[in-house]
Amino acid sequence: MIALGIEGTAHTLGIGIVTEKKVLANVFDTLTTEKGGIHPKEAAEHHARLLKPLLRKALETAGITMDDVDVIAFSQGPGLGPALRVVATAARALAIKYNKPIVGVNHCIAHVEITKMFGVKDPVGLYVSGGNTQVLALEGGRYRVFGETLDIGIGNAIDTFARELGIGFPGGPKIEKLAQRGERYIELPYAVKGMDLSFSGLLTEAVRKYRTGKYRVEDLAYSFQETAFAALVEVTERAVAHTGKEEVVLVGGVAANNRLREMLKTMAEDRGIEFFVPPYDLCRDNGAMIAYTGLRMYRGGVRFKIEDTVVKQKFRTDEVEVIWE
């Protein structure tokens, strides 16, 4: 079976083509802005402009035509309304014209589902990106959220801090570099709030300390990472303990961070469970994860009518009945 998936919840437009076992194509284009930040209309414009060239590129890379495709999948939410609408419209057009089934995919779930292409069976997922931060796992036929950010995503927190330090966007990789040269841990507010996470207090305090001019930026970057990541690992570990699952996966754009990988890996080893991070192009926002999840959903009996393809800006992870497992 071959699925084509379109991702476009935020600033990345991605088209992926996959089979059950293999990624045949996974092409993207990300709208980059000076400041980062959220620009729904610009993202929509970007996606609309790049849709056709990327579709062509994906089909060409995969060496197939639309006739070879068995199911069309698209990111139905959560995300930026105008961007989602562009993606949904494109997916409908393909499905109607080529008379193919269409499946709307929850973006957060897709980030975790793609790990199953690599033999992961039933993981706890730590999904960390610019806008999202969520710990999720299957329980009782749905992906339950065991903890999530109450304010900003960890990626945004890092990017905002980086901007404050005057290093460009995206800040993640640069903060990571700086942090490697950190020598001293500076106390910062811890980010666990009950079952959930909150990064705004940590961010505010890090910025305040930076502005005093009394601290080395390397130490601040290091302390920022240590504090934020410890909170992420703690919430993830709790979910592991609660669910008794034996695999943990790290997904989303922030999964690029080596320190976070290391900390999560240590936790997994301590508990004697498996730890997995997919290749980066399948961690970041991408079409292949949408295609793959759509394929699994379709094979598992999920069916959409065109009327069911309305976008869901606030699409909740636990809204989806996982009947395809």
Partner: protein, 81 residues
């Protein structure tokens, strides 16, 4: 500006089939536009798609026209590989 504005945009496609695919793809968006300061009707007639609109808000109208034209373009681009 709160002057009444009205008008229409009509697009003629090469075949009824193309018009139908574009229309059906965009119709769901038309039906679920979240809040409206522009009233719009969106209809298919053979090879033609017609958007009629009435507004009293210039910027809202601009937003509406941009959205519909964007959706139409995307639908058409997707089937023109």
């Amino acid at each position: 500006m709160n002057e009444p504005i009205e008008g229409y945009i009509e697009i003629e496609f090469p075949t009824e089939e193309v018009a139908r695919v574009v229309y059906e793809s965009v119709r769901i968006e038309h039906e679920t536009v979240p809040y409206r300061r522009t009233r719009a009707s969106f209809t298919l007639n053979g090879r033609k798609i017609r958007l009629e609109f009435k507004a009293t808000d210039n910027s809202a109208l601009r937003g509406t026209l941009n959205s519909y034209l964007r959706w139409i373009k995307v639908a058409l681009d997707s089937i023109d590989l």
